[in-house]
Symmetry: C2
Subunit: 255 residues, 2 copies
DNA sequence: AACGATGTTTGATCCGCGTCAAGACGGGAG
DNA sequence: CTCCCGTCTTGACGCGGATCAAACATCGTT
């Protein structure tokens, strides 16, 4: 299940030197400005590093936390990929998001004080765990930390814009293109390749996340391949034309 | 455009005594625990009230702020209703959300330090304006304020779950039902009626927000009326069967 | 009152995508 | 190797909803 990519994806984003000690990895993390420098004095930095706890070696399919668990800490993905999901009343799983190395999960649990969703490792994954009481205490004393938390939280607010369902412009194509571009951007933001990447999640998970049928994902990817927009081999993916994908994803089909 | 509801909607949610002085209105606001009591000492409360600035008497269609404006403050709706929207590259408007009295807009501007969207009054509207530097400064000194901001931000994170597009269970019905239930819940949360409410936004805005065609909104509302789920007269709306609407909205069509 | 502008409703037609179904990989166990 | 099983791909068909189009209601103007 956690198959190594074979052909397309030489610099594997999820499994490389991500577990190196020191700041080799940390400077790519969302928390970096807190953990590394960010204007903190040395004593506060030390305090923060005491506060961080490494948890990990989750295997594919294992839960990091479950919906309903009481909220005590937020997690930064250190290695691997995670999906968050809920199970609706009909018993069906609803995928809410995917999280790459350097990204943070659990922020949506602050308000309800319980995790509103499950977090499931998609491949071998490990995390940095930040006790929330401790970090908000630190935030009250270090303005830079507070500000950083505000910004992280704010950043998550804007991401709720699904494309229109407009039959004439292939709405499924839009969603998939936007999804691929989003992945690409996020990998790039963390220092990985923006064009060659590995899909840790199954087609079914992507379909569920985008609220389309799994078969549609297959068809769209095949179409993109025949249009020379991507190369794809199983979970290995290469984006050949970021510009055109971006256009499809944000759909400006006229004017 | 800002037509008063005539028949169905006697206690008008948007225009009643909302502009009364004192805490008559404030105790229903999202900021209440900050503005009113919330464990603050008197001196800090006074400080906060200095910090609040009333802005307002926007008329329907006027902008509260525009996408790209530099971010300096967040706004709590005091009276009226607001929609947030962006204009995509094709020149089409995309409605992102609606905000009722007592709700807060602008939190998504913290990270980019610019407003990512426009805010447009749907009827006569006024606001409480909170300078963000001032309030985050206060948050650093008053833990309760900081925590409240964290919780407000966190609360906004979970709201990104559009229903599936499943042809056999009328996905448009789901969206509309969920939309109506959401409005009902939010009005109730602010002390207004959960069953008799006024739609300040046009069918077109609702359709745009839900990413369906305006005609579909009309059809679904007509269907709901013929099923005795709602009574509707122009912008006036009465929800007759919250239970059934809730079921449709969260779709548990089997099991 | 007549008028156009805007918003709402309803009907007719067509197309994308969900469903069903079958086949093609691809990896692990024997 | 062969078998099995899960994931992925591809085809055929039907339905929901987008689009086009045309009445109708409502409101502010002249």
């Amino acid at each position: 299940m956690s198959a190594r990519p074979k052909s397309i994806c030489p610099p594997d984003p999820s499994g490389r030197s991500a577990d190196d000690h020191g700041t080799q990895f940390c400077h790519r993390c969302t928390f970096s400005s807190i953990c590394i420098a960010g204007g903190c004095h040395k004593s506060e930095l030390a305090e923060l590093q005491c506060l961080v706890e490494h948890v990990g070696q989750f295997r594919a399919g294992e839960h990091v936390f479950r919906a309903g668990d009481t909220f005590r800490a937020i997690f930064a993905v250190r290695r691997g990929t995670v999906k968050t999901c809920v199970v609706d009343k009909g018993g069906r799983e609803q995928v809410l998001g995917f999280y790459l190395p350097g990204e943070v999960i659990g922020l949506d649990a602050i308000y309800p004080e319980r995790f509103p969703c499950n977090a499931v490792a998609l491949d071998t994954a490990s995390f940095c765990r930040f006790s929330f009481p401790a970090i908000s205490d630190l935030a009250a004393r270090v303005p830079a930390v507070q500000q950083h938390l505000f910004r992280m939280l704010s950043k998550g607010l804007g991401t709720a814009s699904l494309p229109a369902r407009d039959p004439r412009d292939h709405s499924a194509d839009q969603r998939v293109a936007a999804f691929l571009m989003d992945l690409s951007d996020r990998y790039a933001e963390r220092g990985f390749s923006a064009t060659r990447l590995h899909l840790s999640m199954s087609r079914g998970d992507i379909a569920n996340y985008l609220r389309v049928a799994a078969e549609t994902i297959s068809r769209v990817l095949s179409r993109f391949r025949s249009q020379e927009l991507i190369r794809i081999d199983g979970r290995g993916l290469e984006l050949l034309d970021l510009a055109r994908l971006g256009v499809i994803g944000s759909r400006c089909d006229r004017l």
